[in-house]
């Protein structure tokens, strides 16, 4: 290059615009900082990109997806249910973003690179963690103790819930604290029957509640209530579910202090060995392929669990030869994902003259009931069930036989009520599960890729078995017929709750981040995505990422003002 241009300087640089990057952008900008948000992918224009109301007969393969194209360019992404014929464009092209895993140990790395990241296609389930989760590592003597407890994060759950809008039902359960809820969505006939049967069989030990979802059940902060079209992962023109595009980025934009730069693939961070601070970010513009640099006083690394670790590992310096902020050696270690796919399905008799109207973008939830008040012999920790009941229409005809007028008349109506429980179980941290830089392979922008080493262990397998047994028992308690237990063998990654890789902890020797998501080694570097998690709990993590982000932003700005960063 012939011309030397002084890099742009910003108060804060946020890397990533997904669920945590969006929150960091909003919080930092609202607190008066000039914020640059670097997003690797393209911009999203809801009026053009959202596709939730496009009828099935307007998509070419009628919902069966362009299989040949997908097998070529999205062989991994297509494993995710949301990578469908409408929303497949929100998932990456696997050819551009390669990685390797060990033989016989596949890892499904599901990614979205666009403004909003995976917050566009996320499942919207929003649960608070409890001290059962934050104390677990300490009590079991596993990995490192969380440096925070529920009391530290509770006000921040309040704060993010009030902005995002979470619908749900208060249940007064210690293991799943109540939040500031919008009105709950209704359960349907069969779900109410199962809920009552579960209550009479198990009392308060097992409670079936409506899912707590980041979907509005009434107008909230200028966003409209849900209109129950159903497929949120294709977008939402009324902004009724929470995403960066629908909620946090517009709030950041409103301050006039945010610059959002799409097509900005972060290569690595720039470290100043004199000040021991990060001073900026090396970026490759994905359209021009040019290398650029941006300077910032503080950096929020919110690129997603595995990607954030990759950026640190690709930012090695003479001081940090095995990756920036990695004096502990823990960057990239302890990769975890919820174990998913154990459960059962069955028919709930009755209510055949009644239906549900409206496509509820939410299911039911059974909070963890194992190792809560008693101790299991077969495994540590536990799992929760998501699920729900529905009456299928024509799709049930595919697996039946018959043809003609009789078949057509039968399929015009509704089948029996079918109820299912799908478990999501806690995954224990293990140093055997980790990512490392693969110097021999680069992505479409010339950046070294990752080798992912990850497999579920014995504890996770035991949880999976138990899910199938307990789900069947609960269905039996509800008088279900044709109960079918299942135990799917899903690769880790597919629950898309990947966590770990830069854990929080009390000791800089054994953890990467402190109690405020600040790197022990680099004071002006913060990480608030799933990388920070010291354990996985069994509940969905996004609400916790949001709360941790808002909390870390508050701390970072106050430290910045005190001149500590």
């Amino acid at each position: 290059m012939t011309s030397v241009k002084k890099p742009e300087t910003h108060d804060a640089i946020v890397i990533g615009s997904g669920i945590t990057g969006g929150w960091a952008a909003k919080e930092l900008a609202e607190k008066g900082l000039k914020v640059l948000v670097l997003e690797a992918g393209r911009p999203i224009v809801p009026e053009q990109d959202y596709a939730e109301h496009v009828p099935v007969y307007e998509v070419k393969f009628r919902g069966m997806t362009d299989r040949k194209q997908q097998l070529k360019t999205q062989p991994i992404q297509r494993m995710c249910y949301a990578c469908d014929e409408w929303a497949g464009k929100f998932f990456i092209n696997d050819l551009e973003h390669p990685y390797t895993s060990d033989p016989g140990k596949p890892f499904a790395w599901i990614r979205g690179r666009q403004v909003g990241g995976r917050s566009i296609m996320w499942g919207r389930q929003s649960y608070r963690w409890s001290d059962l989760d934050f104390e677990a590592n300490l009590k079991d003597g596993i990995a490192v103790d969380w440096p925070i407890r529920y009391a530290d994060i509770a006000p921040w759950y309040d704060y993010v819930e009030d902005f995002a809008g979470i619908s749900g039902q208060a249940e007064s359960l210690a293991q799943l604290p109540d939040g500031h809820f919008l009105p709950p969505m209704e359960m349907n006939c069969a779900e109410v029957a199962v809920k009552e049967a579960v209550a009479s069989r198990y009392g308060r030990e097992r409670v079936m509640t409506i899912g707590r979802a980041a979907v509005l059940t009434r107008t909230h902060n200028g966003r409209a209530a849900c209109h129950y079209c159903g497929p949120c992962h294709r977008g939402c023109i009324t902004r009724s579910y929470f995403s960066s595009v629908n909620a946090t980025l517009p709030a950041a934009e409103k301050t006039g202090r945010m610059t959002l730069r799409p097509f900005s693939v972060v290569h690595s961070l720039i470290f100043d060995s004199q000040t021991r601070r990060v001073t900026g970010v090396r970026v490759i513009d994905s359209q021009t392929k040019k290398a650029l640099e941006f300077q910032g006083k503080i950096i929020f690394l919110c690129a997603s669990t595995i990607e954030s670790a990759r950026i640190l590992l690709n930012s090695a310096t003479p001081e940090f030869s095995n990756g920036l902020a990695n004096s502990s050696g823990q960057v990239g270690k302890n990769l975890m994902d919820h174990i998913m796919g154990g459960g059962a399905a069955g028919e709930i008799p009755g209510f055949t003259d009644r239906i549900q109207t409206g496509n509820r973008p939410n299911g039911i939830y059974v909070p963890r009931f194992k190792n809560v008040s008693n101790k299991e012999k077969g495994f540590l920790r536990g799992y929760g069930f998501q699920g729900g009941a529905a009456r299928r229409r024509w799709t049930r005809g595919i697996d039946e036989s018959g043809f003609g007028v009789g078949l057509k008349e039968s399929l015009r109506g509704y089948g029996p009520w079918e109820m299912n429980f799908h478990g999501f179980g806690e995954c224990l941290p293990s140093e055997d599960n980790f990512v490392e830089i693969d110097k021999d392979h680069v992505d479409a922008w010339g950046i070294p890729t990752l080798k992912i080493h990850c497999a579920y262990g014995k504890n996770e397998e035991a949880l999976l078995n138990d899910m199938a047994i307990e789900a069947s028992e609960m269905l039996a308690a509800a008088g279900a017929r044709n109960i079918e237990p299942f135990r799917q063998k899903n690769p880790p990654g597919l629950a898309i709750h990947e966590m770990g890789t830069a854990r929080m902890g009390r000791d800089p020797k054994t953890s990467v981040l402190n109690a405020h998501n600040q790197a022990h080694d680099v004071k002006n570097l913060f990480m608030t995505d799933g990388a920070c998690m010291a354990s996985t709990a069994c509940v969905n993590p996004s609400l916790t990422y949001m709360a941790l982000t808002a909390r870390a932003c508050d701390y970072a700005v106050s430290e910045l003002k005190k001149g500590e960063l």
């Binding site: 349907n188 109410v192 409209a224 849900c226 209109h227 009644r354 549900q356 409206g358 043809f403 003609g404």
Partner: protein
Amino acid sequence: MQRREALRLMGGASVFSVLSTDWLGASLHAQMAQKAPGTLQALTPAQNDIVVAMSEVIIPATSTPGAKGAKVNEFIDLIMAEWATDQEKAAFLEGLGEAERRAKELFGHGFAAASAEEQAAIVQRFDEELDVYRENENKEWSGFWELKTALPFFEQMRRLTLVGYYTSEIGQQQELKVEIIPGALHGCVPEGTEVKQ
């Protein structure tokens, strides 16, 4: 995206009481009308005739149009041309040939030219064979939900007819009366209840 732009301009929750299905339908009809009529990509005209006839036996016209009216054959042609594996396509085309052979053997003329009763008799036989196949065959699934063996002809034919019909505009709007934007959720109401917003 005219429809979506209109939604945006109308703004907020009130949209859904204003949004009549007539208006939605009109906008869709306008889009559908722009599509060129289907020309066959994978099926020969003779094979297409069998598909048209057999799909109509599976989902016949009643008070609403059947598979023929919903142009299920065009969908099946697309799937064979651009979606199916070579193995699946070969099994499907071989099955059409088998239907033709059976019609000639039993009735002395091809499937498409057979009477409704004759066609139903042949489909009945395929349907019974499918039941037997399902009871005996241990379908092998590879890691990520791909069936390793090609499905037998009638499993494909029946499945694609149902998908092609019920995901068509006729299937969705006339037969199932699917509402894309229900506007409200009611968990347990008598069948036939109008959605109250």
